[in-house]
Amino acid sequence: MVFINPTLAIAGLACIALPILIHILMRRRRRPVTFGAMKFLIEAYRRQRRRVNLEQILLLASRCLLVALLALALGRPLFGAKSGLLGTPARTVYLVIDNSLSSATGDAMERLRTQAMNLLGTLDGARGDRAALISAAGPADALIAPPTSDLAAVGELIRSLSPTDSKADWPGAAARIRDDLKRTLEQEPGAAPTVALFSDFRAGSADVSAELPALGVPDGRLTILATPPASDAIDNAAITQLEPARAVMLASAGEGVSAPMKVTLRRSGSVQAASGKVILRAADPSQDSDEATRGSPRAEATYTFAPGGTTTTVLATLDLPPGATKSRVLVTASIDRDALERDNKFSRTLDLRERLRIVLLATPSDRSGIQAYKAGDWIALALAPDAEAALRKRRGEQLAVETVDPSRPLAAATLADADAILIANPDALESAAWSLIKQASQQGAFVMVFAPSGVQAHAWTDEFVQALAPGWIISGEAKAFTPPTGLQVGTSPMLRAIAGELPELLKPVTVQKLLPTTGPGAETLLALSDGTPAVVAATRETGAAGSLVYWAIAPELSWTDLPTKPLMVPLMQELVRQGVGLSGTPRVAIAGQSPALPLGAAELAPVSGAPITIEPGGRLTRPIRIAGTYTIRAKGGATLGVISFNPDTRASDTTPAAQQPTERWLAGLGGEVTWVKGDGASPAGSARPASDESSPLSFILLAAALALALVELVMARFFSHATVDTPTERAA
């Protein structure tokens, strides 16, 4: 049995003490009566004691029972209801509100808030109802958990919720509820919780193809309330990516630089041909973006969606005048306003450098003739061709190559601020040198390793794999190709800047020898005609370490004629520039997701506001759900880089979801789904069953109390032994 008004029931039951108190006080407070014939009164009492006591107990019991019946009737009991605290039907409701990017369309957020507030209004804290609040914006956050009966506080938080730039994290929200429910079910095994989800469930919010984790509530006691999926189609375009041709731009002092940028857009809703304008702006990342972009360099381009197409790219070149920028520039791409405004901007930083410092670990040669050129010589030549010497002198040396003999002990200072480390003779390196290279790679240096020529047994590969390429397998012996085989373009986008010319440049190149390799995370840049990887790259997703490129072919004439071909110079130049650009600190992150941060990063400082501390494991103390630019700082306050958090454009898909798949998807939580109609206050949307509002047992109890009151009156009259003398009796 449970009570609709448990407070009244408890208070009423406590009132049972009243008749007992009155009984005691009536005995105590009367003035004593002196009586002469006490001897006979005591004798009478001895004879009547049992009867008198029984009468008093009966009267007291009936009065207590009367109060108890009234208390129970006021408590409005219900039979068969699910029990809660003190047997009350205390409802436990988990409110999950989708405040992700997809809720920023139109008045969706306001509508969801209102529906949640209406449902909250059907709860009654005084009756023991409790509510928890979970924001679904990734990562899902338990704003109030475990559930509280302070519903006003829950309401305040609901009203303060606003859309974020992250994607809805429904599995995360389910995990939060499951963890809390586990504790609740341990304390109250009979609890029947309700989970209410407020979302439009558009394609960008709910991925109905991925199953939701069950909440672990047994016996179908879980009630799932959900707002029905939005059915209206909304046209929305979003900038999903902003990629520079190179992440690191080389510009000499006093010279401007042109930064070609590729903007990727995706749309949802309409499939008709559409076009619009993309505006690129450059700004100082240390200033507020709106302020910084005013009067700054800008570029425009027009994007066009083909009929039926959902994605498009547009190229635009942002000309940065000399002196307009510092070492870093924040580039922001934006498109015109549409239904979902938050995903119309995308930012990232570009590094502007005067030169790159390249350390080339190569055995020195005498360069007596081209036939005597070693790999190191070819590499150095490709990075600094003599033909460009005059130009180099004028501009300043953009690629400063420092050749170091690998057979000599390597100093840590040599690699300390190297942008790229090119290892032409890895077989000559000591173990200590590999450790230093590994350290430099972890700090963001780009490493390119070439298979050495003239080695019978390649024993160096173990140390290389251990230091830089865990899991890779490199053959211990070179494979010879007779007749020589050709090269073809691989799958990696790293060479996209020269992708147009690459096939033509590859045609004259032949390969005689190759040191085969396979490994996880390896992307093929160039491959033999039979598909054997010849140049592979390992782009580190974590960003904590520099990129790695491995040449399975030694750039020597005994292995390949590549060094003498036109491809050599652009290939080497491009690999170094792209490699350095892909290394170092990450420049872009997605709101709601954990960013890849460099080692030693201690905090993320926004342009304005309190910095966010980074825990030793790389986890942020406070997830970033709103797009913005943050400076990555080391413990001492040194700037490690600038990272731009952009909206999670996976949430930009405004395609409406069908109701049935959504229902099946939500049912994965482990209960039957009831759609909240309209404003959420209708019976279907109420967290409390309509049957709770009436209690037929109350009337029965009231009737019983009335009957008992009559019995008590009769008993009180009879047990009082009061008589009324008639005039006749009085006369007698």
Binding site: V33, G36, F40, A44
Partner: protein, 337 residues
């Protein structure tokens, strides 16, 4: 029994009003009370039965050596020359022994002194605010003593509870009245005897030990003692040849038990406090109380004694008449026995 419904008359118009408690309550001194009672009582008689009492001749007997020669009948000696002693039927003075119960229960009275007096006197001379059974008993005792003393008979008084608390030796002298009044007025019965339970047998034994001639005993008490004690005490008086008039003084509340409110009831003789609803116990109480009263009456009557039940709300006429009747009867028995 009371004159509550009677037509009010001026106090001086009828001396019998002095027998009413409300009149007695107005009178501060015992002497005045007793005088008023007796005057009020005798004014209703046609003649006084207590006048002309004298020594009457009974017979002659021969003188034997050792007889007191003062009783020789010299006239017979002169005529017959024989020594004859003149014997008289000695009309012995009728000794009255009044025993007043001063136990704790006698302090009870449900009638306020102010209401009893009717003239605004709020308390008795000793400060009590109610007209108790002891007040009634002492008024009656004083009246009995006054009547007896006025006939030049000897009167003794014993005030008792668990034992004799005060005693006035039998005497007919003028000072006796003062002693009696003093014993009844100033006896510390109210405080000192609180909680003292009546021990009638013991008291009777103590009184009888000092009496060697027949007396008329007037025992004034509420007799809230065991019936066996009453029986034993009266039996010893009867065995000693005394006549007894039993006056049982009760309060109206004790007889009717008309309490209505539940309250703690406290006794006057050290009984435990009893928290009861009096209405629940009324029937049982009245049954026990009436059975006891009937038992006392039956015991007294069974031994040939007079029994008078007096309520503190009633006047003293009937008990006084009963006493006088009993006294006359006893005188007659003495004279013609």
């Amino acid at each position: 029994m009371t004159d509550a419904n009677a037509k009010p008359r001026p106090l001086e118009a009828d001396a019998s009003l002095f027998l009413h408690p409300q009149t007695l309550a107005r009178l501060r001194s015992f002497e005045l009370r007793a005088k008023m009672i007796v005057e009020g009582f005798s004014s209703g008689q046609h003649r006084s039965p207590y006048k002309g009492l004298s020594v009457e001749f009974a017979q002659h007997r021969p003188y034997v050596a050792g007889d007191d020669i003062r009783h020789l009948d010299w006239k017979v000696f002169g005529r017959t020359d024989k020594l004859q002693l003149k014997q008289h039927q000695q009309e012995t003075s009728l000794d009255l022994m009044v025993m007043v119960d001063a136990s704790g229960s006698m302090l009870y009275g449900s009638r306020s002194f102010e209401e009893a007096s009717g003239v605004g006197i709020k308390a008795s001379i000793d400060g009590r605010a109610h007209w108790s059974k002891f007040d009634h008993a002492t008024a009656l005792a004083a009246a009995l003593c006054y009547v007896t003393l006025s006939q030049s008979d000897r009167v003794g008084l014993t005030v008792f509870a668990d034992e004799i608390r005060a005693q006035v030796r039998r005497s007919s002298s003028q000072g006796t009245w003062r002693q009696i009044v003093g014993a009844l007025s100033h006896h510390p019965v109210e405080e000192a005897n609180k909680g003292r339970v009546t021990n009638l047998t013991r008291t009777v034994d103590q009184v009888l030990a000092k009496i060697n001639n027949r007396c008329l005993f007037a025992v004034i008490s509420d007799f809230f003692v065991d019936l066996e004690d009453v029986k034993t005490a009266l039996a010893r008086l009867k065995h000693a040849g005394h006549d007894v008039v039993v006056f049982q003084v009760l309060d109206q509340s004790e007889e009717q038990f008309d309490f209505t409110d539940a309250a703690p009831f406290q006794g006057l003789e050290g009984e435990p406090t009893l928290r009861v609803d009096p209405r629940a116990l009324k029937a049982a109480y009245l049954e026990i109380f009436r059975a006891h009263m009937a038992g006392v009456e039956k015991t007294a009557m069974g031994m040939g004694f007079d029994y008078q039940r007096i309520s503190t709300h009633d006047w003293l006429g009937p008990p006084l008449a009963a006493f006088v009747a009993r006294r006359n009867a006893m005188i007659k028995r003495s004279k013609y026995a």
